[in-house]
Amino acid sequence: MTEQEALAEGTGFRKNSWAAFVFVLQFLRPQLRRLILVCLIDVSIVLLNLSIPWFGKSVIDQVLPRRDWNGFWVIAVSIAGLLLVVHLLTGTRTFLYNTTEQLLQLEIRRKMYGHLQRLSMDTIDALPVGQHQFRISTDADRIAHMLVRILPTLTMLFEFALILTAAIYVDPILTGIVALFLIPWTLLFIWVTHYGRVLDRRRLRLCELRDAGVLQAAYSFFTIKSLNRSDHEVRRHSRISVALQRVANQGYLILVGFEFATQRLIPFLKTNTIYLYLARMVVMGQMTLGMTVPMIAYLGRLSFPIERIVNFGCWIWQTMVSAERMMQVMETQPAIVDKLNAVPSPVVTGNVELRGVSFERPRVGRVLSNVTIHLKPNTSTAIVGPSGSGKSTLVGLALRLIDPLEGQVLVEGTDLKDIKLDTYLKQIGTVMQDTYLFAGSLAQNLLIAKPDATEEEMQAAIDQAELTKWVATLPAGMYEDLDGGSALSAGQKQRIGIARAMLIQPKLLILDEPTSALDAETEREIMDTLKRLAATTTTLMVTHRLDTIRHVDHIVVMESGGIREQGSHAELVRQNGYYANMRKIFTGSEPIPQQVTG
């Protein structure tokens, strides 16, 4: 399925769980040898554990009545040895099993992350960051947890068969009676899992509602306080909490009832039946006292593997939701990949042409139709127009974040689709609407753009972005941890974005609304900096602020996906068209035309 289709499907997309299960099984293959070893250890532990009660039998039946000291020491040493081996094996197994799970987690993350990185921004932006994070971390862990359990759980079938055979061999009637107790247990378990899932879903929905409320409150304290809605907010929170509590209570009472039945009542009945039966056999002389030890041990263990298997079977379907989500991501084909025969990018001088490009967005329709813009080396171009006119789509095309539906993007005369994308992008400086600051210091943030930059190069970029003074105030200078930029102003962040763009000394600078998040004063300061830098490079700037572009060589006015007018500032003012009119509204140097109020 194509990326666009997946996007259109949105989060509602679901394939059947079986396909998802088969899909995630591929991760199991590299771990198969480790897991088979785990299963082998499991089998040996079971065999050893099953042999231990027989020693108890011979102690009671032979050693103690006969006061056989030699036999006693033999048995004591054997049991000690066996237990030692069992503990060593258990330790090894735990280590091996968990290591395998960690390796699975690693592998799933690697696959999903690599794939996600290649998807287009449209696909990424369709979901909140938290949801992608959830998929790569929590979903991956759940899938790993499920995968690692499959084989050991199947091994339990072997354990069950073994115990059953042994128990039937010793006493088929009692074994039959004990096996009957499994029936009510299984039925109860399946019912509770089913009903529990219904309750769980309701509980999670309420949780989501409440947490979304808390989250929104955290981001709108000013609104809440200034509109005097604090009490209202607390009441709403408490109302949802009460409902949540009610659902949790219901769930708890069912769980208590279930646990009483399965962990207390049924074992109680079962144990008493076994005891009475065995006592009767001993009293009637049909069984030695010692024989009760292995019987009790075996019959007590009989239900254990079955419980685990049923438990796993009920639980596995919950994991399938994660597997389905994962498959959905992995089956979304990245729309933009380098061709096999892609060539390294020519040296970019700034000769970039968007030739007759069109673009469509799902659910929105055509956002660009047949637009041609030619950037010439060492000139500056500005694209203006109201929101939704297709300005940012043009930037997306120039950076190949998207491919045009029709038309071409030509870099120095070569189609961008034939170029190895990163060799092209590494020559271009970009400043976006908001600069995203990565964890770490200013230097670490700069090095993202050029991992092998020297300190001198970074200092030069800092100077160009006019951050020198600010950096001097930081205790560790450019190596000071910025803590994700939480304490920085929007202007400082944009300057860091500029420094990041300048680090590679680009011949082409692309600015996508670089000042739209700033107040007017900061905006002017940043624009002054950019103006200075733009003098030596080719520049493409997108903006909706008309007062910042008077100086550029070429202005393109966009409107609903097409070019409405273009030319230099002076030409456009002379034409007295849309651009001239908008400028008047903005600067207010002439009266506001009355029709605007309409």
Binding site: N228, A248, F268, A449
Partner: protein, 639 residues
């Protein structure tokens, strides 16, 4: 590796426990009853085990009796055992329900108290980098990871949050992740009964073993203390590696957040590989820490704990067997003693875990109480004036104010707004424009001077009676998940349908809502596709539906494109006269229609007058005006 705060002094621990007990107190009856049931159920179960001796000795091995006699003895003793077992199980279940009820209710109370308290705190507490904010962000952050219901800003805003605050969030919200986990209240409602149960059942174990053989109970007693001590020490060590694992996991999460939230940047820089390497490095680190933690657990549990247990069992076994062979103990003693010793192992392991549990939970508990104990500084004074109505008269008298003492924002600001007046406030950034609003709404308190509303100081007024008559539109309107109508009604949930429609028309919301199939019933929320102008219109409708006497616009049109801004300003003109309007703006365009414009400079009133007057006057306003129109002058020169 352990954070220093995990070492809490004994006095502090007791204080925390006392405070938490305050939340359990209302349910103490049930709590005490549950402990009483516990005292009954433990010996019953142990007696049942003890009776195995009599079944063995008096019936199974009593070869001198007939089979029928032996069978009837079996029936009576096993019957007694069954009775003991069953009543013990029943009592335990009742006890668990009681215990759970107490924990659930007290956690609920704690959580609500916490949320209520947070809402009472002044804005400064909530928005500055204080524990409260940290905590709230952390909650939000945790929610985003667990509940998938967040927007990107959450992740980036909190950055690398401190692990401690995440623990706090976990502690308060943990019983949603696992609804049956009592979270921080567990220190009391779970630990205390567990402690009682452990000590009490060990005690009964010692007593019953004493009835079989005094030496056995001595052996058990001798085993308890070294076992508890060694395991406790070992668990401390494991906890170190658990913290390390958590740390690496957080680094990994941070790196993942960077990868996704910063993906556009990485893509446009052509540097996907760099970040992928970084992330995979973080992932591998976490796995390594995870494997290290597991190995330590395996070593501690299999190596030391199970080893000790195993050595102890062998000792008991050898001792008992030799006693039987000497003839000083019966086979029944042998079986019952082994069963009792086995039964004592469980409580012993519990004991070690309780100590660990308390250690882990004390830190978040302390943090929660820290926030709960912070005093709300802005509260109505006793006997505050309840305003029946607000005329809209506002007066600032020599008001001084500073967010941080060393950087004053307002320096003796005085001005007056008459009812129905449309006042604009302008000035360079940092002149104190937004502080004027914050002080007027009493989100902060002035350090000197008075803010008067209808002649009363705002700190003498019952704040909510005043705020109910004020509508505020911030720079960006926060949209709550819900319909457009819900979002408007947030301003006044009691409003009628007519009020709603009137506000929608007045604010221009109806103009764009009409395009949607569901009109005002269209679902919106963070990240929904409304333009900035549309959001601001909802903000205005939200303010207008309150039927305000004072309308406050805080840079309400600053982020809009010129066309939309002009549109909204025109609509606001229609409201003038019917209410006092205060409009704060950076761009002078936005205050042009005002009756009066107040020009702020360095926290003082520099100029006052209408736009036309101010433009004629020499001063800051004209300077700003010239600056913002610089282009038009230059343009004249260029062309």
């Amino acid at each position: 590796m352990l954070p220093e705060s995990s070492h809490i002094s004994l006095g502090e621990s007791l204080r925390v426990l006392r405070r938490l007990w305050g939340f359990v107190r209302p349910y103490r009856g049930k709590f005490v009853l549950s402990i009483l049931l516990l005292l009954l159920s433990v010996p019953l179960a142990q007696f049942a085990l003890f009776l195995t001796r009599d079944v063995t000795n008096k019936a199974l091995l009593a070869t001198h009796l007939t089979a029928d006699e032996r069978w009837s003895i079996v029936l009576s003793i096993v019957g007694l055992q069954a009775l003991f077992y069953f009543s013990s199980a029943l009592l335990s279940t009742c006890r668990e329900v009681l215990e759970w009820y107490g924990s659930m209710r007290s956690t609920f109370d704690l959580r609500l108290a916490f949320y209520r308290h947070l809402n009472k705190m002044p804005l400064a507490f909530l928005t500055k980098r204080l524990p409260g904010e940290h905590l709230f962000r952390a909650t939000a952050d945790m929610v985003s990871v667990f509940r998938i219901a967040s927007r990107p800003a959450v992740a980036t805003a909190s950055g690398q949050s401190a692990p401690d605050s995440k623990e706090v969030a976990m502690a308060i919200y943990s019983n949603d992740v696992d609804p049956y986990d009592p979270g921080v209240m567990g220190i009391i409602v779970r630990t205390v009964p567990l402690m009682v149960e452990t000590i009490y059942s060990l005690l009964w174990g010692v007593i019953l073993l004493f009835l079989i053989d005094g030496m056995l109970s001595l052996m058990l007693l001798a085993y308890i203390f070294p076992f508890a001590f060694v395991s406790h020490r070992l668990f401390d060590k494991v906890r170190g590696s658990a913290f390390h694992f958590k740390e690496t996991a957080e680094m990994e999460a941070g790196s993942l957040r960077d990868s996704i939230a910063g993906l556009r940047t990485l893509k446009s820089l052509g540097r996907l590989k760099v970040q992928r390497k970084k992330y995979m490095h973080a992932v591998a680190n976490t796995r390594r820490a995870g494997i290290k933690q597991i190995s330590e657990i395996v070593l501690v549990q299999s190596g030391a704990q199970v080893g000790m247990k195993w050595a102890f069992s062998i000792c008991i076994y050898v001792y008992l067997t030799s006693r039987v062979m000497e003839g000083s103990a019966t086979l029944g003693d042998w079986i019952a003693a082994l069963l009792l010793v086995e039964a004592a192992q469980g409580p012993l392991e519990n004991f070690v875990q309780i100590l660990q549990l308390i250690k882990v939970q004390l830190v978040p508990a302390q943090r929660i109480l820290e926030t709960l104990d912070a005093k709300p500084t802005i509260v109505d004074r006793p006997g505050a004036i309840k305003l029946a109505d607000v005329s809209g008269h506002i007066k600032f008298e020599n008001v001084e104010f500073a967010y941080e003492p060393e950087r004053p924002v307002l320096n003796g600001l005085s001005f007056e707004v008459k009812p129905g007046q449309y006042l604009g406030i302008v000035g360079p950034s940092g002149a104190g424009k937004s502080s004027v609003i914050a002080l007027m709404l009493r989100l902060y308190e002035p350090s000197a001077g008075t803010v008067l509303i209808d002649g009363n100081s705002v700190s003498d007024i019952a704040l909510s009676t005043f705020l109910e008559r004020v509508g505020t539109v911030p720079q960006t309107t926060h949209l709550y998940t819900g319909t457009i109508a819900d979002n408007i009604l947030f301003g006044n949930p009691k409003a009628t349908r007519e009020d709603l429609e009137r506000a929608a028309i007045m604010s221009g919301v109806s103009k764009f809502a009409i395009r949607f199939d569901d009109g005002l019933g269209t679902l919106v929320g963070e990240g929904a596709s409304l333009s900035g102008g549309e959001r601001q219109r909802i903000g205005i409708a939200r303010a207008l539906i309150r039927n305000p006497k004072i309308l406050v616009l805080d840079e309400a049109t600053a982020n809009l494109d010129p066309e939309t801004e002009a549109d909204i300003l025109e609509e606001l003109k229609a409201l003038r006269g019917s209410m006092t309007i205060i409009s704060i703006a950076h761009r002078l365009k936005a205050v042009e229609p005002c009756d009066q414009v107040l020009v702020l400079d360095a926290g003082r009133a520099a100029q006052l007058g209408s736009h036309e007057e101010l433009i004629q006057m020499e001063g800051l306003y004209r300077k700003l005006w010239a600056l913002q129109n610089e282009l038009s002058h230059l343009e004249g020169a260029a062309s």
